[in-house]
């Protein structure tokens, strides 16, 4: 299972880094084309309570955590 995922993981990482480097200069829209990003449901933290509750569940029940945001404060739950 893991071996199948490994190359995918590396590809995604490589793509992420490549797109961040290239992205800055060639991607994007003009200021007047940003109407969709002003939508409340398009904000990165539009469901922050759900996300924080989910983070807490998975932090307590799984061996890895964080990624989307800082792993954050600890608790004795795991």
């Amino acid at each position: 299972m893991t071996n199948v995922f490994k190359p995918i993981g590396k590809t995604v990482v490589a793509l992420a880094i490549a797109s961040s480097i290239v992205g800055c200069s060639s991607l994007g829209v003009q200021p007047w084309e940003k109407d969709q990003f002003a939508r409340e449901d398009m904000a990165l933290n539009s469901e922050k309570l759900d996300l924080s509750l989910d983070d807490h569940i998975y932090f307590s029940k799984e061996g890895t955590s964080g990624g989307r945001s800082l792993a954050g404060g600890g608790c004795g739950c795991n």
Binding site: L15, L27, R68, L70
Partner: protein, 431 residues
């Protein structure tokens, strides 16, 4: 003449849009001028025959002008129920001394040993201040505290964001430091010490002396330093993407004081129990990529997270949320998540009699080989005055797997890696 006219129209449009976008950005960062925004939720998390938790959460945001934002959060959660101790199922009933050393509990023949002493209440408070310095720079600082009966956590965090490329690109750097104090019920077990029983001693005093031999005095600490670098990029009119790299360094007490390992003979019969032991340092890396799109009648996101550390725990997480608006004030949302984890190098489901004790070992299935998935539905109703009510119901299942350990004798007769099935139900209200 025509060219000039076009240019001036374009300039006028750009200026007009900039001012509009400026307001939109400000509105994103600061929800409403000098207004309060409150989000509250109550969540139930229930595992079949195991942990039950109720968590209440409240978040209050207060904007000060259009530059400053204060965010305060309070969380109270209460846990009861049983948790897997790490011991393996047996053909006969098994008796365990409670972690406090006071009393015992018995697990039936063939059953996965669950410690039913598990209950706690936790209170968590956090506050964050965000300041928009100028059009390009935003900063934030925060404090965090969490207290439960046997655990205290205190933390500080700070971050800096820089926007450029017409606000199409945002670079973010953030860091956090957390200091935890662990003070387990009954004290911290001595690594690999054997569980003692009252029935093996003539008096309470003799038993207590033997129990104390298995414990270390005082509390212990754990320090976590996190750093994260992130890029958010607008791709086109509807899509954006985010990529984060996180590094987390943890040092201090990381064993689970309530977890044990069975010590079995060549027939798979348990001869005793030993308290687990984990390394006192851990270095974790994570890479997270996410893309989010605005659809005509909804919004969708996809994310992937890769995580690895020097305990050899590697994980892959795929997740998506898809929201569909049935009407402008009512939506439904689907949540899917798949998680796959590779065991820590020191994970082992049991110890074998006669083998030399390893430096570290844990039978905690949460750091073993595992896959897990979540399927969830959420419905949201927008009410008058900008209020919103949401309902969420999710199913979460963990499927622990054998990490390749050969099972001797009678252990082959039992499910040593049982699935854990949980329901999450939540109601939220925002105004």
């Amino acid at each position: 003449m025509q060219l000039t006219s076009k240019q001036s129209i374009a300039s006028a449009l750009a200026i007009a849009s900039c001012s509009l976008i400026g307001q939109a950005n400000a509105a994103e960062a600061v929800p409403a001028n000098d207004d309060w925004k409150v989000d509250a939720a109550i969540m139930y998390y229930g595992e079949q025959e195991r942990v039950q938790a109720v968590e209440a959460i409240g978040n209050v945001q207060k904007a000060f002008g259009d530059k400053s934002l204060l965010d305060m959060k309070v969380v109270i959660d209460s846990l009861t129920g049983s948790s897997a101790s790490g011991a393996v199922a047996q053909g006969e009933s098994q008796t365990f001394t409670r972690p406090s050393g006071k009393g015992e509990y018995t697990v039936g023949a063939g059953d996965t040993p669950l410690d039913d002493t598990f209950h706690d209440t936790r209170v968590q408070l956090s506050a964050n201040w965000q300041e928009v310095f100028n059009q390009d720079w935003t900063g934030n600082v925060g404090v965090y505290g969490s207290k439960e009966f046997d655990y205290l956590s205190m933390g500080l965090n700070a971050g800096l964001e820089r926007s450029f490329n017409k606000n199409n690109t945002t670079l973010a750097l953030s860091g956090a430091f957390t200091h935890d104090v662990v003070d387990p019920v009954g004290g911290r077990p001595v690594a690999f010490s054997e569980m003692v029983y009252r029935s093996d001693y003539n008096s309470d005093t003799e038993y207590q002396a033997a129990f104390d031999q298995t414990r270390l005095s005082g509390d212990d600490t754990k320090q976590t330093s996190d750093i994260m670098f992130g890029v958010t990029q607008i791709l086109n009119r509807n899509w954006l993407m985010q990529a984060n790299y996180g590094l987390s360094s943890v040092s201090g007490y990381m064993s689970d004081p309530y977890k044990i390992l069975s010590e079995v003979d060549s027939n798979g019969i348990t001869q005793g129990y030993r308290y687990e032991s984990r390394p006192d340092s851990r270095l974790k890396h994570s890479v997270y990529v996410m893309t989010k799109g605005a659809l005509d009648s909804g919004v969708v996101d996809f994310s992937y997270r890769y995580s690895t550390d020097d305990w050899d725990i590697t994980s892959h997480t795929l997740e998506t949320h898809y929201r569909y608006y049935f009407s402008p004030s009512f939506y439904g949302q689907l949540h899917l998540r798949y998680y796959q984890q590779q065991a820590a190098e020191f994970y082992q489901p049991f110890l074998t009699m006669g083998d030399t004790l390893p430096e570290y070992a844990s039978a905690d299935y949460r750091i073993g080989d595992m896959t897990a998935y979540t399927i969830g539905l959420k419905f949201g109703q927008r009410l008058s005055g900008g209020h919103e009510m949401t309902y969420r119901l999710e199913y979460y299942q963990q499927n622990p797997e054998n990490n390749g350990t050969e099972l001797p004798g009678q252990l082959q007769n039992y499910d040593l890696f049982p699935s854990v099935k949980a329901i999450v139900a939540q109601v939220s209200y925002s105004f």
